[in-house]
Structures are given as structure tokens and as C-alpha cells.
Amino acid sequence: MESWRKVRDVVRKKIALFVFLGWVLLIVGDRVDELRVYQGAQIAMYTIALTSIVLLTGYSGQVSLGNGAMMAVGAYAAALTLNNLQTPIWFAFLMAILVSALFGALLGSAAARLAGPYLAGTTLALAVGLPAIANQFSFLGGEPGLIFDVGFPPERFGEEFTQYKWFFWIASCIALVAIFVTSNILQSRFGRTWRAIRGNSLAAELAGIHASRMKVLAFTMSSALAGLAGAVLAMNIGLVAPGAFTLALSFGLVTGAVLAGISSLPGVVLGGFILVVIPEIADVIANRLGDADKLNSYLPGLIVSVLLILSVIYTPNGPGENLRKHLRKKAAH
């Protein structure tokens, strides 16, 4: 009983924290201009996608390069639901979660047998292959894709309330809920089990953990989150097309997760921020230096890759880890 009360306390505090965060976002959303609001929606989208990677790679120790493909699954599921069944928006997002979870469970059953590089390569093949399917079947809309329109903001928010702010609200609301749920899962029995498997799967199995079943579960949950992120991305850009779910997106997500600390859940916000800000910075530099065309296309990639390489060599477990080590050293002195 005692421990249950403790858990309830922690969860209550966490809910308070997330409500406060939501309120801060609400205030910030009112103070900045349209472009920033839109970027805020993108950050929220990346945050959800990175949460899925932290769960999968940071906790259960499986490397997936196919999160972009899972986002595509979610986005198409949402768009097909919304366009064909004229359902409310929330139902489209729910379908995105369900369909991509189902897909993830199927794929996860195959993936659970694979270790490290095999899994990475398999999901890489998925990231290349899956979006191209849209070109084969006409109900998926081919190269131009499907429209995904969540509609105008409700009228009671007033005339001032813009479309992008509506996107921002939906996206950050979903992101907050997603992170809240994930953080609870990661602190529960599941999170501990995943960490045990990541540390030493043989020892974990000897301790009575069904390792492959837990891995499939991690893959399923991670896919569900990725699918949700895909639906949010589709909302932000207004359509679902194979061109939106490139290999570059999958790589970018892994990069963001590593930069922010692969096993740190609060880091995902930093990661999302980095992914949105870097192209912006590159843009500024490119305009300074002239020859904007070439620089615009390749400078973001250069900055991201250099950051990725440096961080994987020097802070492989995220900047937070180094900071903690540093503080511990100081405390010991």
C-alpha cells in the first residue's frame, strides 16, 4: 500500500508538471509569429518521433533506421481514415497509432530474432522500400500523395486564431500526452525489463524475463509512437506523400536521438529543437556566404553529420551523461 501511495504521488506531481508545461507552451504560442508557431509544431512532431527511438534504442537496445517508414504507415492510416470515413480528427490519430502498432508487432516478431547490425540493415531496407509502395496502389495516391486536412480551428477560439496555431496546439498536446505516457511506461516494470535485456539479454532470460517477447513489445510501442508522429507530420504539411518519408528523415531522427542522449526522455525536446534549428542556422550561413543553392542543400547535412560523429565519439550516451559524470567527480573531491 505504501508503495502504491508513493507511485500515486509521483504520477500526480508529473501530471502537474505536464499541465504546467502545456500552459507555458500556450503562453509562448501566443507571443511569437506564424513561422515560429509552425516550427513549434514541427518540434512537437520530432519530439514524438524521437520518443519512439528513445524507447526502442535507448531502452530496449534495438537500432532501427526504419522509423521514417513507420511514420509513413501512421500517416497513411490517418489520411485514409479521415478521407474515406469522414471521422473526427482524434479518431484519425487513434487509427494511426493502432495501425502502426499492428505493423510494428508484425515486423517486431521478425526483428526480435535480429541483433544489432542485422536489425539496422533490415529496417534500412524497410525505410527505402515501404514509402515506394504508395506508387504501386492507386488508393494510396501515388507520388503526389493524399490530402490530410484537419480543418480550420474551431470558431470559438476567435478570428485571431490561425491555422498554424491550431496545428501547434494539436501537435504539442499530442506530444505532451505521448511523453507523459512513455515516461510512465519507462519507469514501470517494462522499462526496467528492457534495460535489463539491453544490459545483458542472457542474464535477463536467466532471471525469468521472456526477452524476445519484451523486444517485440518495445518494437510495437515504438512503432505506435512513430506512426503517431507520422500523422502529426502529415497534419503539419497538409498531405501524405512518399517524398515526405525519405531515408534522410529516418537518418535525421537517429541523429536527433543520439545528439540529445539516446536513453534520455527529456532529451527528446532538445533533439526536436536541434532538428528544426539546424536547417535554420545553415540557411543563415548560406545566405551570408552567397552561393545559397548548393550550401542550402548540403550545409544542414554537413552540420548534422559532424555533430553526430563528434557526439557519438565523445558523448555517446548524450550530453546529460557527461554532465552527470562531471558533477559526480566534483562531488567526490
Partner: protein, 298 residues
């Protein structure tokens, strides 16, 4: 019947290019236990060097030679300046398992942006040394051209050269020994670190040829070799990721299989077909089609 033979021949051509990429991946995997996703980037950089030589001199084979040298140098450089540093630093914590994969991805991005900033994203072409028009038999023109013949012949020569290198020379023995049992090889007096760098150089050279041959009947852009990497990896896994013969057989099977899908099923399903092949092999024979019942060394 004619379409069947055409499909086989085209499949053999694409398969033999995959075979080179797949060999490069297997060579690195055997020596370093890393799937080198940067292999496509290394090959691309080497192919751009080849493109410069080809557009200046107009001699295709000179360009191939330079591309091989460039590819080997880049490969050795990646191992010496990059992988060694990586293994020294990233060896603990939750990221240790994923660090090599992520690092080679970062390297792929780095090389891609370097190439993009240097040469731009425009389509480049390297002129094929022989005709790319299909042979004509009677009144019909086959899709199989002298270039396809040339590709198959070149790849065969490289494979024979590699076989001789690995089976008949001291260097080959050292390479095999340090891949099979690094500790024992070290005790036997082989400088395993240096041998590993040589292995990376050979892989780089082989990858460069794959890039050059792929570009001879195609375009070259900073992204044009990505698919080669994916299919090369699939072929390597189909072959078991350990065996060089397996890599070649896997690549030829994959090449022919994908051409069958392309000709008989649908163009957009080629990629997902490759994925299906990969999943099937991993589920049915996870040690690859050449496995003899021995467990996989992960």
C-alpha cells in the same frame, strides 16, 4: 522464352554490381564487426574522383584505376582515423552497441555533404567505354548491351583476383586469420590492426569499382549509390554476412530476383521485394543460404 533469358541476363548484370558492394560490406564486417553504412559514401567519393579523371582524360579505364586508388585510400583512412578513435572512446554505456552503426551513418552523411558541396547535386555522367545499345539478333533489339557484357567480365576478373589474393598469398592468409580469430592471429605474429586497415582499403577499392560500373549506365548524384548500399547489404545477409562466396551468390540471386519482380510484377515493388527477400532469409535461414549449420557469430 526470350523475355526469360533477357531477364536472367539483366539480373546477372545488376547482381554482379551488387556483388561488389556486398563483398565490400562483408570484408569490413569480417574484420571489424561493423556493418559499414558509409561504404556507399566511400564508393561515391571514389566515383566522383573517377568522374573528374574521366571527364578530363576521356579514358574510362584510367578513371576506374584512379577511383580504385581513391576508394582504397578513403577506406584505409576511415579505419585509421575514424574507427580506431571510435572504438577507443565509445565502448561503454547504453550507446556502445549502437555507436558503430550510428557513426558510419554519420560518416555517410559527412561524405555526402562534402561531395554535394564540392560537386553540387547535378546529374553527372561517365561515358561508357563501349556501346550501351542492346545487341540485335535478327530484327529484335535485346536490352542486353556490350556494357552489360563488360560489367559481368570486369566483375568476374575482380572476383578471381580477390580469390587468388585471399587463397594464395600471405596477405590473404593474414586477412583471413585476423578475421577468424584476432587474438590467435596476434599471437602468431600478425599485426592485426594493420591487417584490418588493409582489409578496409581492399573493401574501399572494390566498392569504388561498384560505383564506377553503376555510374557507367546511370547518373551520378550524391544520392545515386544509396540503393546499391541497401541491395548490397541485403545480398550480404542473404549470403550470411561472413562468407565472401555467399556474398557473391546472394547478390546474383538478389539481382535476378529483383529483375524478375521488375519485369513481371511492378516497378514500385522492387524495393519492397528486396525487403521481403531479406525478411524471408532471416526468418528461414538466418545464417544465410551458404550456412552449414554453424551458429552465427554476432
Amino acid at each position: 522464352m526470350q523475355k526469360v533469358i533477357e531477364t536472367l541476363l539483366i539480373g546477372l548484370t545488376t547482381g554482379s554490381i551488387y556483388a561488389l558492394m556486398s563483398l565490400a560490406i562483408v570484408l569490413v564486417w569480417r574484420s571489424t564487426r561493423v556493418v559499414n553504412f558509409a561504404q556507399a559514401g566511400q564508393a561515391m567519393l571514389a566515383t566522383y574522383v573517377g568522374f573528374e579523371i574521366a571527364s578530363r582524360s576521356g579514358v574510362f579505364w584510367l578513371a576506374v584505376l584512379f577511383a580504385i586508388v581513391a576508394g582504397a585510400l578513403v577506406g584505409a583512412g576511415v579505419d585509421y582515423f575514424f574507427m580506431r578513435v571510435l572504438f577507443k572512446h565509445a565502448n561503454s554505456g547504453p550507446a556502445a552497441v549502437v555507436a558503430p552503426v550510428i557513426a558510419t551513418l554519420g560518416l555517410l552523411g559527412l561524405i555526402r555533404s562534402f561531395v554535394g558541396l564540392t560537386w553540387g547535386g547535378e546529374f553527372k555522367t561517365i561515358e561508357s567505354p563501349v556501346s550501351t545499345d542492346g545487341y540485335t539478333v535478327g530484327s529484335t533489339t535485346l536490352p542486353f548491351s556490350p556494357l552489360n557484357t563488360l560489367i559481368i567480365v570486369t566483375v568476374s576478373i575482380i572476383l578471381i583476383a580477390l580469390a587468388i589474393l585471399f587463397q594464395r598469398t600471405n596477405l590473404g592468409l593474414a586477412l583471413r586469420a585476423s578475421a577468424y580469430a584476432p587474438e590467435i592471429a596476434k599471437l602468431a605474429g600478425i599485426r592485426t590492426a594493420r591487417t584490418r586497415t588493409i582489409g578496409w582499403a581492399i573493401a574501399g577499392g572494390v566498392g569504388a569499382v561498384a560505383g564506377m560500373l553503376n555510374t557507367a549506365n546511370n547518373f551520378l548524384t550524391p544520392y545515386s549509390l544509396d540503393l546499391l548500399l541497401v541491395f548490397g547489404f541485403i545480398a550480404a545477409v542473404v549470403g550470411g554476412l561472413e562468407s565472401m562466396v555467399g556474398a557473391v551468390v546472394g547478390a546474383l540471386v538478389l539481382g535476378i530476383g529483383l529483375t524478375i519482380i521488375l519485369n513481371y510484377v511492378g516497378t514500385s515493388l522492387v524495393f519492397i521485394g528486396g525487403f521481403a527477400v531479406l525478411i524471408l532469409v532471416l526468418l528461414i535461414k538466418p545464417d544465410g543460404i551458404m550456412a552449414k549449420g554453424k551458429g552465427r557469430r554476432a
